[in-house]
Symmetry: C3
Subunit: 447 residues, 3 copies
């Protein structure tokens, strides 16, 4: 094999099964010792690929990445539901085919750190110029193993808390890629500061406290075609101070506090995603302007799985499934299904809000469709059967009145078109433009 | 190489060229014999990757997969059009550069089976708990070699019938991946029962009877960014009893009976696809509710290639290009082109229907654009030249009157907005809400 | 390793570091010499994979590909910004961590050619039947090294001119794939003639004169999920005479003359992209009909980076950000942000045009949202900081009057709905149908 190709199981320093962190750091040191010249024959620092074959690799030492053009690549995202497994009675564990995730699997076994960076399996950090570029993570699994008690009395394995982070990028970076990865049972899966042209594509990031967090600032990145689901105190997708971010074609499962939360994000797209949540506040735009939220499918229903029954994100039903603070955003062509037990609506008797414009102004809201049903939430001891049953039961439900669009007085000069009938939209016509969807004929007429 | 990495050409048991099925089963047996403990050092069953280098591999023995975290990976989807090749006169075959698909190519040579499962090259089956997880198929080709006579007199190689299935997943499963694969000349390419968080991404699945079939029930899966085209009696994408399915960014060619057929599917998205068909019934929702069909491009024209001239799916032109039975669906922002020979419309003299709401109610249909042309269908002996010519000829066509939206009496309480002029929409205003697109001025006015 | 797997660093002929072109041609000759029979055991020409490990590989000889089922695969797209590096003062170069792109990197060092084909690192050419199929380029970097003087006085490294092409496909082809590639500092990155079912997916194509060009004719292809940015005289995505093309989920950066330019393209989709440009003419449809432009985010602002300050594509602000010549197109649900310095508008005093229908007719334009701001353009010596700052500064800007839709007299029978208020749309009601967005109340009312 070429000098720039490494296999963690073949490396003479350390033992990948016992501490893949030591092995990876040793390999990175080797790359740096061999690639020293910045301008030798119009090149000199091409980086390398490190292959992690399928297997269980404990990580006791944090990996520090400070070179560009490094790809760490496995052969399997290896996801299986640890959440289901830990909620199976322990006496049944001997009957299970397997207990742990697999693939090219890194078992994060770091001592508890002081902060997210310290608790990260992979930390990417390099200052100076140019920004670190083209680091790629592909096709392996990062498993945090266990969650720990959070003091609430919740079963420790259900807390989504353990102080562990999968990948933590501390410094400004360019053209990074995260593809085909699996993340499971981490408090934070992927945290990237100051990203430019980042691609997070086709990953499986689930049963993590928070899944994808773009922090600091950034631009021109994409989060596309992922399967994602965070915990009730975290976010499936979070971004702050980003411009030109494209969030599309993701299938976001419950139970994150938000499916997508944007803070100070401008000129970005949340389009064409399938979003499912157990609470209001599915997509939240805070101080975020000139964004497009279009062609998404929103489903909000109740948690059906007994271990999490009663857990929620604390938001009332008038918060909105989509909540916008900011200006000049476009909300076009989305479908919303609110499948809610009327007896559990908070505040009691309120109509759940679908789209809420809280502050800012000049937003454009058109051709959105809100569907609402009053359904008695059922719980079940089987995670996926419960969810599938809940998802598929549309027939017998009764209509539940909702506020399709609520425009707060703090948000002005908005245009709301064809996104609810006169009765379903709360809007001040002195400060906003509005055209109601035509009312349906009374249901017994002609029926 | 690591213990969990296998190359089918290096395995001591069997001969991959003569029967890759025997080799793969032997490797799977080896993995199972080595990975027995379910909880050894917090792991124990990481699975493996099996590499299939480019080459021709006959498969005479069905592969049975009953372990999680197995990736079977090739280095090329190897598609070429067998359909074109088999319709080239046999005396010209010696002049062809190549006759068969390639890449990492598995030649399915199983004896005819009693059913789809028996005729499958790969059968995935495991009961018990947990569900089998993270099996991945990547970057290889499954070729059924030939179609066989179906008794209709059609050239046997054009029947799309041979009793062969590429991949058949029989039992409930989680987090499977099918990426970068090629499927060709199979009666069923990919059939998955009871899928959870399945990803079918970036594949080439064409010239198969049916391409992607999600059966049983399932949830939270994605079918994204594929090139797909089925035969006239099958479906390019079929799903039943699924919730939260995301079908997006696919380019679906003719000639499937449907591009997308959903049966009992709820809270799912068919968005942002390019769909092309030679018949009505392109997207069919049966007993399917709360789905979003948005931002898709629909093109229906006539079969231009002589070997299939006259073959169709039997549906009349009033069936609708998009047909909805079910409730609370959203149909927003789609483009429809119906390029039809007026003399071939069935029933004769009828106006072809673009969107049809057949049963159910409370659907929301807004800002869809129906374009219709009366074009004499031409046939050609060259498959792709004929298609390209047909696709590109827009200039000389004449307008053909269509029914942009037909709401059957069995479907009530629908809202139809800006999706056709008064003349183009058939709707009972006693039971539905309607706003017509404004009529165009008479064409000579100002023209 | 298998007979059909090659590693360029292990091949006995040539020296990959000095001329990978010679090595690749020698390997292709070897494949052809071994795979001669077109029909041996139902196969015979499966092709091969050629692996390019991370490293710097000079290419002095053009690679000619004339066999199907060939995959050339690296382990890193290796992008870094050469544009930023070459605009760093040379005395600071010794302090840079690295100067060049990396990954599996091919340094194009061909003598200047007479035309694009001659200057291509990879030329794919094969006539006869069938069309060459399933050639795949994956996960490596093609670097043109330097731009050269264009006679305008611009710094030579900023011209986007060097006569070099990354991949040039000359003949009709089927089922090609370009995945995970990096292209940098090439005059033309990827040029494909006569494509059928081409997939260009998840690549990084930036700092090239033109990025993706589909020429001749073609059908049923997809350009999806790429990060793309061309130079001011080229196009990020260009296609001509294509039908059924799906352009989706791309994040297109500045500074291409167009983000997407379609010429004679029909029945295609430009949906769900994030598009950013420094000039008008972002998406141009010329003689293109029955296309869907939907759910895209358009941002036009001014070049903020000093080295390119003042460079533009020559178009006036009344050209339109989206300009349509052609008929029966759908423009639905797009967001447009025009962030323009009023003092720099051309012609002076004109209102910038967002959507312009220039010729043709029967187009359908609905629920588009135009946002416009008057912002003093700032320049900065740091490329990404300048861009991020510009992207994120929405708060203090003032509204700028724009023409949201301009319908030229040459374009007739169009329908324009909810895409601008009465004041913002220029349309002849004698030849078109129009419904204005409701006007907003005067801003002091209730505010």
């Amino acid at each position: 094999m070429s000098a720039n190709y490494y296999d963690v199981t073949q490396w003479p320093v350390g033992d990948a099964a016992e501490d893949i962190g030591e092995v990876l750091n040793s390999i990175i040191a080797d790359i740096k010792s061999r690639q020293k010249a910045t301008d030798e024959h119009d090149g000199g620092k091409p980086g390398a690929v490190i292959y992690v074959p399928p297997g269980d690799y404990r990580l006791r030492t944090q990996v520090l990445i400070d070179i560009s053009f490094l790809r760490i690549e496995g052969a399997g995202h290896g996801f299986t539901s640890s959440s289901i497994r830990f909620n199976v009675p322990e006496e049944e564990w001997p009957d299970l085919h397997e207990l742990w995730p697999g693939g090219s699997r890194i078992l994060v076994d770091l001592p508890p750190g002081d902060d997210e960076a310290a608790g990260a399996a992979f930390r990417v950090a390099r200052s100076g110029n140019p920004r670190i570029s083209s680091v790629e993570f592909a096709d392996f699994c990062i498993d945090g193993l266990h969650f720990t008690s959070d003091g609430t009395g919740l079963h420790p394995e259900n807390t989504y808390v353990n102080g562990k982070t999968g990948i933590y990028v501390a410094d400004a970076n360019d053209s990074f890629r995260v593809n085909g990865m699996g993340f499971v049972y981490l408090e934070h899966a992927l945290t990237v500061h100051n990203a430019d042209a980042l691609s997070v594509h086709d990953n499986f990031i689930a049963e993590c406290g928070s899944c994808i967090e773009l922090r600091g600032w950034g631009q021109a990145s994409k989060i596309t075609d992922n399967l994602i689901g965070a915990g009730p105190r975290g976010h499936s997708i979070y971004a702050e101070h980003h411009g030109g971010l494209l969030i599309t074609a993701n299938n976001v499962f419950p139970r994150g506090a938000s499916s997508v939360r944007l803070n100070g994000v401008t000129r970005s797209s949340v389009t064409n995603n399938r979003l499912h949540s157990f609470y209001p506040g599915m997509v939240v735009l805070e101080a975020s302007s000139e964004n497009l939220v279009g062609s998404n499918h929103f489903l909000r229903d109740h948690e059906p799985w007994s271990p999490f029954f009663g857990v929620d994100n604390g938001l009332d039903d008038d918060f909105g499934l989509l909540t916008v603070s900011g200006s000049d955003n476009s909300v076009i062509g989305n479908h919303f299904s609110a499948i809610v037990d009327a007896d559990r609506v908070r505040p009691a008797g309120a109509a759940p809000v679908i789209i809420r414009l809280k502050a800012g102004g000049r937003n454009y809201v058109a051709t959105n469709h809100a569907v609402s049903m009053n359904v008695q939430g059922k719980s079940s001891s089987s995670a996926f059967e419960a969810q599938v049953d809940a998802l598929l039961s549309t027939g017998t439900a009764k209509h539940l009145p909702v506020t399709a669009v609520m425009v707060d007085p703090e948000s002005k000069q908005n245009t709301v078109l064809d996104s609810g009938t006169e009765d379903q939209v709360h809007i001040d016509l002195a400060t906003n433009a509005f055209r109601a969807s035509p009312a349906l004929p009374a249901q017994n007429a002609g029926g």
